[in-house]
């Protein structure tokens, strides 16, 4: 179970990125993405902005829940009042070796790319999943509002504060 969390500004620009693994069921909270995931995650998350742009106008919910999927990567979204998007990419894959690269065996590479195995068992709309991720988002939102209240924070500015990162990581540990 690996997560990639990105806060995206109004210009499709990442303001904050954070990777982590699950801390549930004895997870060590370390992300298990393959080498390519580095850019892959960005591509996936960026492409799901299309969906966000569409659904954010229906109903005006801030927590948009599960909005998109690419193979075995599930995208959840929370959009702030200021149209900043919290995007959480969740890869339920459990059995990808930490250091797997594109050189790894056919089997592994395929599982993680087209991971049928995990995705069939994983249900992004399960109440438990939605709830946990919602709680994560809500906690991040609290920290986010504190960030933007700072008079020195400008629209679409990157967030570098280690305290902020710490809070996000804590929220992740707590809920995911």
């Amino acid at each position: 179970m690996s997560y990639y969390f990105a806060i995206v500004g109004t210009q499709d620009n990442p303001l904050f990125e954070h990777e982590f693994g699950t801390s549930k069921q004895g997870g060590d909270g370390v992300a298990r993405f393959r080498e390519e995931a580095r850019h892959m995650n960005q591509f996936i998350v960026h492409s799901s902005l299309d969906i966000v742009d569409e659904v954010q106008w229906n109903g005006g919910q801030m927590y948009l829940k599960h909005i998109d999927r690419f193979h075995n990567n599930y995208i959840f979204c929370f959009i702030t009042a200021g149209s900043v998007k919290f995007l959480l990419l969740h890869n339920p894959d459990t059995h990808t070796p930490p250091n797997a690269s594109s050189r790894s065996s056919a089997a592994t590479a395929r599982t993680s790319a087209y991971g049928q195995s995990a995705s069939t068992t994983y249900n992004p709309t399960a109440p438990a999943v939605e709830e946990a991720i919602k709680n994560f988002f809500v906690e991040v939102y609290d920290v986010w509002v504190k960030t933007i209240m700072n008079p020195f924070f400008k629209l679409d500015m990157k967030v570098t504060s280690p305290v902020f990162r710490g809070r996000v990581a804590a929220a992740a540990r707590k809920h995911l």
Binding site: N13, E36, H46, S47, S105, R110, A113
Partner: protein, 817 residues
């Protein structure tokens, strides 16, 4: 001929990667298929390049690029009039077929199949004439399009006429599995699917039946790969002007969603030469031509013999094929040697014995040379299996002469054949199909619709009614017999319905309706069948019914304007999604028949895309990516379908100034995936094309893009949805890497080939291609395609520009830091 160890793409990792889902038979060096892979590319070889015409789109190279002599070109036109309708299927046609082109391909792919059974003497005559393939080879191309309008009455008596109606001539047993054991024991069901035999068959027969059977993804992949590699060869040298060209190509591709010629080829081959299977009857013969020649000593007896052979004898089709198809008797008269009066007499006699379904075909038996007056080159046959085309490529590739081996015939022959085809279609096939339709429709469907319950319960009631019916009482006999237990009609052991059973009949009815393009009737019938098949757990049938229910519904919706859509059509349209899902699931998971799964999703996706509704693009893309997730295609299909997905998303422009609901980012993303996969395949030209789309879609190319980042807070507000510059660092870097990779290779290719004369020594070219296949960069993978450790073959590759290129650091190592 021997192939270098790294020569065969079958050995290339990408193919390996998908073996688990699709059986890609291991062809040994000797097999025709693999030997193709190290086929020398001779740009000088006209006869060969003409085979690639369907996918070559060099700027300036017109329809007749390369191919054949003036006479031949003229001949084409003379053969396929009324003019123009030739276009969608002309191999040498416009490089880009628009989506409606794909629809034509689709509609015309469901054509009535007509088996051809010629007596030995007939084939002899034709062979002398210069057609090693005998009568079948001669007549085949003329079925592709019946000359003139073809008018059909649909279930409600309304008649529609088509310009592009065609029939498919096949060998009687084409599309049946060869008796030999499948090359790969595992997934026997799957292997049962296809007519692939290991290819160990001796290369003597010029038209082996097995080669005429399609339904093999691996072969399609290989064929398209040949075309691609050829394209690389063609454009390898002329990048500079090519870049510009494919720029617009890319533009078109996303505005019009036009598929690349390679995709079109892939799609067509997917639908060509469908194997015979119990669960669908498209490739079952609707009729059978039984031909004898004027040379035959005992014509009537032979005709009888042949007829019986098809009924009971060794030529009898499997029991799950309905044998009640029309027999059509043809007497081939040898104008050059025999006396017409005798033939005419014989013809009269034939009519007396066999009824009206007879034809006297007057052909000249002399061998024709292209140089002769009024000589006409035999048109190319469109609907051939991938293996057959591969075989042809192979043959020509090896032939010493550059001369186009396509045999010729006389104008007179052409018109004679056309007349035969037209009569056969208009006077025999269509009427008989219409009759069957009406009969089955009334007797089976109307009842079936009347009551909800099980089918058999009704069947008893029909029995009296049925027997009183006139024409070939096949189905009614079936109905009688079918009075069994709940699922009495389904033989779960052998896994098929007997052809007379009501279910089989209804399926046939629906398939006929599709062939006659009465999609409404077809859709409703398939819809009804789904329940029955489901009840009987006849999964393959069930999958088929779902598949065709969806396809027919979409085609139906496509051909009629929204106004006249009945509510039933509308409700069915809503069901389409579920049907496709069920079909692909049953095919792939239950029946391990990935080929059909692929066909279902590919066709369904295209049709949804063509609907062009607000959701069409998304749905098409969804099915497209399912194809990839289920790994139904190989390394060639992967980027092709990625391009399609990109196009599907691209076709969804969104509404209004803000492009609300647009899908540009997704389109761009899939384009990136395609580029990356093309590079893996080392198809630089394709990669280059898609890269253009990437830039276009991400808006990177739009000149004068004002700096997005204004430190003025308000500045942010003004920006439009489309970013001028990618803000995600690693996306940006990755695309940069792709661009560098493409440029580097194009330059390398240019530098290497620019100097050489067109007659560059073949073997080095071969080496380059095959080496590319392995030397692909393993590091830069978006989706982790399996990349096994380099093969031994690689270490000893000769130093070539490619080798140098591989060592370029920026490409290899900076990939992920």
């Amino acid at each position: 001929m021997t192939s270098p160890p790294y020569g065969s793409p079958i050995k290339s990792p990408q193919l390996g990667a998908i073996e688990s889902s699709i059986v890609f038979p291991k062809r040994k060096g000797g097999s025709p298929a693999s030997s193709l892979s190290n086929l020398p590319y001779r740009r000088s070889n006209q006869s060969l390049s003409s085979l690639f015409a369907s996918t070559s789109s060099l700027p300036g190279s017109g329809p007749s690029s390369g191919t054949a002599t003036p006479t031949a070109t003229v001949a084409r036109d003379s053969v396929f009039s009324p003019g123009g309708t030739l276009r969608p299927r002309s191999p040498a046609g416009a490089p880009v077929v628009d989506s409606s082109g794909l629809r034509d391909v689709l509609i015309r792919s469901f054509a009535p199949h007509v088996a051809v059974l010629a007596s030995a003497d007939t084939d002899e005559v034709i062979r002398q004439k210069g057609f090693p393939g005998g009568f079948l080879q001669l007549i085949r191309p003329f079925g592709q399009q019946v000359q003139g309008k073809v008018t059909v009455r649909d279930s409600i008596g309304a008649s529609k006429s088509f310009e592009d109606f065609g029939i498919r001539f096949t060998g009687l047993k084409d599309g049946l599995n060869p008796p030999k054991p499948p090359p790969q024991p595992r997934r026997s069901a799957e292997v049962g699917e296809k007519a692939v035999n290991g290819g160990a068959e001796p290369w003597v027969e010029s038209f082996p039946a097995w080669a005429r059977t399609g339904g093999d993804v691996a072969q399609i992949e290989e064929l398209v790969d040949r075309h691609l590699s050829y394209a690389e060869m063609q454009y390898g040298g002329s990048m500079s002007d090519y870049l510009k060209h494919d720029g617009d190509a890319a533009g078109r591709a996303h505005t019009s969603g036009a598929p690349s010629p390679f995709y079109t080829l892939y799609f067509r081959r997917l639908l060509s030469a469908l194997p015979m299977s119990p669960h669908e009857t498209f490739s079952h013969p609707v009729a059978c031509i039984i031909a004898i020649s004027s040379r035959n000593p005992s014509p009537i007896e032979d005709l009888r013999r042949l007829y019986n052979a098809t009924n009971t004898g060794d030529l009898r089709l499997p029991q799950w094929v309905n044998n009640e198809f029309l027999r059509y008797y043809v007497l081939v008269h040898d104008e050059d040697h025999d006396d017409i009066s005798k033939s005419t007499a014989l013809y009269e006699q034939m009519k007396r014995h066999f009824g009206l379904h007879c034809h006297l075909l007057r052909l000249r038996s002399l061998h024709v040379l292209p140089s002769d007056d009024d000589s006409v080159r035999l048109p190319t046959t469109e609907w051939i299996s991938a293996m057959e085309e591969l075989t042809e490529i192979h043959r020509r590739g090896n032939s010493e002469t550059d001369a186009d081996p396509t045999p010729c015939l006389f104008d007179s022959d052409v018109s004679a054949l056309r007349t035969l085809v037209r009569e056969l279609t208009m006077q025999s096939i269509i009427p008989s199909m219409e009759r069957s339709l009406t009969a089955w429709n009334e007797q089976v469907l109307s009842r079936r619709r009347g009551l909800s319950g099980r089918f058999m319960s009704l069947s008893k009631r029909w029995t009296p009614f049925g027997s009183s019916s006139r024409n070939s009482s096949g189905p009614l006999a079936g109905l009688q017999a079918s009075g069994g237990g709940t699922s009495g009609n389904y033989d779960s052991l052998q896994g098929f319905y007997r052809p007379e059973s009501a279910e089989a009949t209804m399926r046939k009815l629906a398939d006929y309706a599709v062939m006659l393009r009465d999609f409404k009737l077809a859709a409703s019938t398939y819809d009804l069948l789904r329940a029955d098949f489901n009840g009987d757990k006849a999964w393959r049938y069930y999958a088929g019914a779902n598949e065709m229910a969806a396809i027919a519904t979409l085609l139906d919706a496509h051909l009629r304007s929204g106004a006249e859509k009945s509510t039933s059509t509308k409700s069915r349209l809503e069901a389409v999604d579920g049907w496709l899902e069920t079909a692909s699931y049953s095919y792939v998971t239950r029946c391990m028949a990935p080929f059909y799964g692929l066909r279902t999703l590919a066709v369904g996706g295209e049709l949804l895309k063509m609907r062009g509704t607000s959701t069409g693009g998304d749905e098409a893309a969804k099915w497209g990516s399912k194809i990839l997730e289920d790994r139904l295609v190989g390394p060639v299909g992967r980027p092709l379908f990625m391009e399609r997905i990109s196009a599907s998303f691209g076709s969804k422009l969104g509404r209004g100034e803000l492009r609300w609901g647009g899908r540009r980012r997704k389109a761009a993303f899939w384009a990136v995936l395609a580029v990356e996969n093309w590079l893996k395949m080392d198809k630089v030209v394709q990669a280059g094309k898609m890269l253009e789309s990437v830039s276009e879609l991400y808006g990177l190319t739009d000149a004068g893009g004002v700096a997005v980042q204004e430190d003025e807070e308000k500045g942010g507000g003004a920006e439009k949805a489309k970013p001028r510059e990618l803000k995600f660092a690693e996306m940006k870097d990755f695309i940069e890497e792709l661009r560098e990779a493409v440029v580097a290779r194009k330059l390398a290719a240019h530098g290497y080939e620019g100097e050489e004369s067109p007659e560059a020594d073949e073997t080095t070219l071969v080496e380059e291609v095959s080496e590319k296949l392995d030397a692909r960069p393993h590091r830069m993978s978006l989706i982790g395609i399996a990349a096994p450790p380099p093969m031994a073959g690689m270490d000893v590759t000769p130093l070539s520009p490619l080798k140098v290129r591989d060592e370029e650091p920026n490409f290899r190592d900076d990939s992920f830091e």
